[in-house]
């Protein structure tokens, strides 16, 4: 049987000796959309960042495999080359470097690592323009410095634009819906939905159910205090909407 795209087993992670993740088990197959929901401080962002290999975290035990390979042994760029993409909750500004140049450098870094030929500007630009249109972004954004002077919504859109250009195997979206008005949310969701496909898995990390009205997940997991306390189908998100995380927390302490 084919191994799952992502397999997390009993993952424990701490920051400054403070235990954040207390035993996560999760399996994600190609073609699936998973949503990880939970209250603030439950460890959602930590999980997203550990999987994309930010080194501020200490893995105490457990493992995470990407296509059967040890994801936790990879550097951030190696994880990226292997197909992991993180849409940042707080996208970072890179002054003086244009969006187009940045993305072409990223695309070519990936291609080089995978033994493919680099893409020329002539090949890159038409593809880039097409993705800009998908996300209803202005062509002018190509030449603006990465995220510099972007509004909150533009930054989030820019993350999804990068995802569309880089075509990852495993996309992790960290609170992509926060700070978006309803129109921007719709556009971002459209971009994400366009990326759904049999070869790709998407993990949507969110606090609110709102985004899931537009991106309907196959699976929903509820993360409370570093543990997944419940898993289910999309109906679980709606249940949460009505009862809140409070009832879940109660059920964990009872367990």
């Amino acid at each position: 049987m084919k191994s799952p795209l992502l397999e997390i087993r009993n993952l424990h992670v701490s920051v400054d000796r403070h235990q954040i993740l207390k035993g996560i088990d999760l399996q994600v197959n190609a073609g699936e959309v998973h949503s990880i929901m939970g209250p603030n401080g439950s460890g959602k962002s930590t999980l997203a960042q550990v999987l994309s290999r930010r080194d501020a975290y200490e893995v105490n035990s457990g493992e995470a495999l990407l296509n059967g390979e040890d994801l936790l042994a990879m550097k951030p760029e190696e994880a990226a080359w292997a197909g992991v993409f993180l849409a940042f909750q707080y996208p970072v500004e890179v002054p003086g470097i244009s969006n187009a140049y940045f993305l072409r450098t990223a695309v070519n870094a990936m291609r080089k690592a995978r033994g493919l030929e680099e893409m020329s500007a002539m090949e890159f630009l038409p593809m880039f323009r097409e993705k800009l249109r998908l996300l209803e972004m202005d062509d002018k954004l190509m030449n603006r410095s990465v995220n510099e002077g972007f509004s909150g919504g533009e930054k989030k859109r820019n993350e999804i634009l990068q995802m569309a250009v880089l075509e990852p195997k495993l996309a992790i979206l960290d609170e992509t819906d926060s700070g978006l008005d309803i129109d921007a949310l719709r556009v971002v969701a459209k971009g994400i939905n366009a990326m759904r496909g049999p070869e790709r898995a998407i993990v949507v990390v969110t606090h609110y159910q709102r985004l899931l009205d537009y991106i309907v997940p196959d699976f929903v997991h509820v993360l409370v205090d570093g543990r997944i306390v419940r898993s289910g189908g999309p109906e679980l998100a709606r249940e949460l909407e009505e009862t809140g995380y409070g009832s879940m927390e109660a059920s964990t302490s009872a367990a």
Partner: protein, 485 residues
């Protein structure tokens, strides 16, 4: 992770690829400096009397400063005492300098410049850049003389100018940087052996970029070159300067002087990519780059623009400046200074506003990595008569790692209340956030740093001529190798 660090270290060790020594027979004088040495240098160059007189006055002034231990001590740099008697003040490749044709040039020298990627021949012809090459102390070749002569532009070695255009040299030499200006300017005036000379006559737009390439080759030799550029009324010239030196354990002194004169409506654009040997990663060896560069906007509506990218030298001490005498004249200073390992830089500019409605712009980007110490020192002075003067200053510092330093010393002196001054400054670190963001997009650590730094310097790179901008970007990446780990 440690193997990664080792790999980066190795890269850092071999980073200075211009450090070779060429086997060229050279003619040197004995070590040491005294009046006789000054006379000897002047005699070797068959100089007219006025030059010798000027040199001797400069020497006596320098000697009095030396006796009084008046070497400048105010800069934010540290180095041991320099033994001025233990240095060679003149070294020339053994053959007649100032050739008319490249075929006559020592093939070893030609090979050296080719190794450095300075094509003195056909390639540069295609690129339309005229080159003067200064090897150790003397100018070895100037390309394109003929084409420039047709346009009326004089571009030759300083020695040649002294012989063929003594009236111009006499008129302008020391008119911007007098030998009394400072310790190193006095030393230079006494012993300078060559350099470049440019005169662009009235209404002439110089048809090509002019370029000088400086190379120190001989050991225990100081390099003291002098450049003088005069743009007559409504003339325009763009001048580029590049420099490298071999790897040696001993520190070597480079004390140059550059003088620019712009008459009415004239424009001079002076760009430098300085890559003298910076010393090894323990801070051993490297060039002491103690340079005085100054331009005078003598005429109305004249403009002088300095752009520098400083990545080399163990110590850099230089302040390319503008004296804005003509009404409506404009001075600009754009600078990128990078210090890695144990490099130190104390650099900046002076903008002296004398004329009415004079305007100056200062944009500096200091980058410190390793144990590097980077100081911006700038002075903006608005004199009493400078009605409507304006200055805009922006100095930004970027820190890579936690063992380096950035320092800023802006001096502002305003004696006319109509002046408008703007000053912006920032200091930032390459953050873990930024690095992670770029690496998450598949860009390797070293490439990520170089991208962030290039973005940081973009405003200055824009001012460089195209081919220099590309070279400067590459140079920054090479100079930063080994700064992550």
């Amino acid at each position: 992770m440690s193997s990664n660090v080792n790999a980066i270290r190795k890269l850092a060790e071999r980073e200075y690829k211009w450090g070779f020594v060429s086997e060229i027979e050279s003619e040197s004088v004995p070590k040491g400096l005294n009046e006789e040495m000054v006379r000897l240098i002047s005699a070797k160059k068959h100089e007219p009397e006025f030059m010798l007189e000027w040199r001797l006055k400069a020497y006596r002034h320098w000697a009095s400063l030396e006796r009084a231990s008046a070497e400048p001590k105010w800069a934010n740099i540290r180095y041991g005492p320099i033994d001025y008697q233990n240095m060679v003040y003149y070294s020339a490749p053994k053959q007649k300098p100032a050739l008319e044709s490249l075929e006559l040039l020592d093939p070893e020298i030609l090979a050296t410049y080719q190794k450095l990627g300075i094509p003195l021949d056909e390639q540069k012809r295609l690129a339309g850049v005229a080159v003067d090459a200064v090897f150790d102390s003397v100018s070895v070749v100037t390309t394109f003389k003929e084409k420039l002569r047709e346009a009326g532009v004089i571009f030759c070695s300083f020695s040649e100018a002294v012989q063929q255009h003594p009236e111009l040299v006499r008129k302008y030499l020391g008119s911007v940087v007098p030998y009394t200006d400072n310790f190193f300017a006095a030393l230079n005036a006494a012993v300078f052996s060559d350099g470049s000379f440019v005169y662009v006559p009235r209404d002439v737009h110089c048809p090509m970029e002019l370029s000088t390439y400086f190379r120190i080759n001989a050991a225990e030799t100081g390099q003291f070159e002098r450049t003088l550029i005069v743009a007559d009324a409504s003339a325009y010239v763009s001048y580029l300067e590049g420099c490298t030196a071999p790897i040696r354990d001993q520190n070597q002194l480079h004390a140059a002087v550059v003088e620019l004169v712009a008459l009415d409506d004239a424009q001079i654009k002076y760009s430098t990519v300085q890559n003298w040997y910076p010393g090894d990663r323990e801070g051993k060896g490297g060039i002491y780059n103690f340079v005085t560069k100054r331009g005078k906007c003598e005429g109305v509506n004249s403009k002088i623009s300095w752009t520098q990218v400083e990545t080399g030298s163990a110590i850099t001490w230089k302040y390319p400046s503008c004296i804005l005498r003509g009404d409506n004249s404009v001075g600009e200073f754009y600078s990128v200074a990078l210090t890695n390992n144990y490099q130190q830089a104390d650099t900046g500019t002076k903008m002296i506003h004398i004329g009415k409605n004079t305007k100056s712009t200062i944009v500096t980007k200091g980058i410190s990595a390793g144990h590097g110490q980077n100081t911006y020192r700038g002075q903006v002075k608005i004199m009493k008569g400078a009605v409507g003067a304006r200055n805009y200053t922006q100095c930004d510092s970027l820190l890579i790692g936690d063992k380096c330093g950035a320092h800023t010393f802006p001096y502002i002196e305003v004696r006319n209340s109509s002046a408008k001054m703007e000053h912006e400054a920032s200091t930032s670190k390459i953050g873990e956030d930024q690095m992670f963001y770029l690496r998450q997009r598949g860009i390797k650590g070293e490439d990520a740093i170089s991208m962030i730094v290039n973005g940081f310097c973009k405003r200055v790179f824009r001012e460089l001529p195209m081919e220099f901008a590309v070279e400067a970007q590459k140079l920054l990446s090479v100079s930063l190798e080994g700064s992550v780990g």
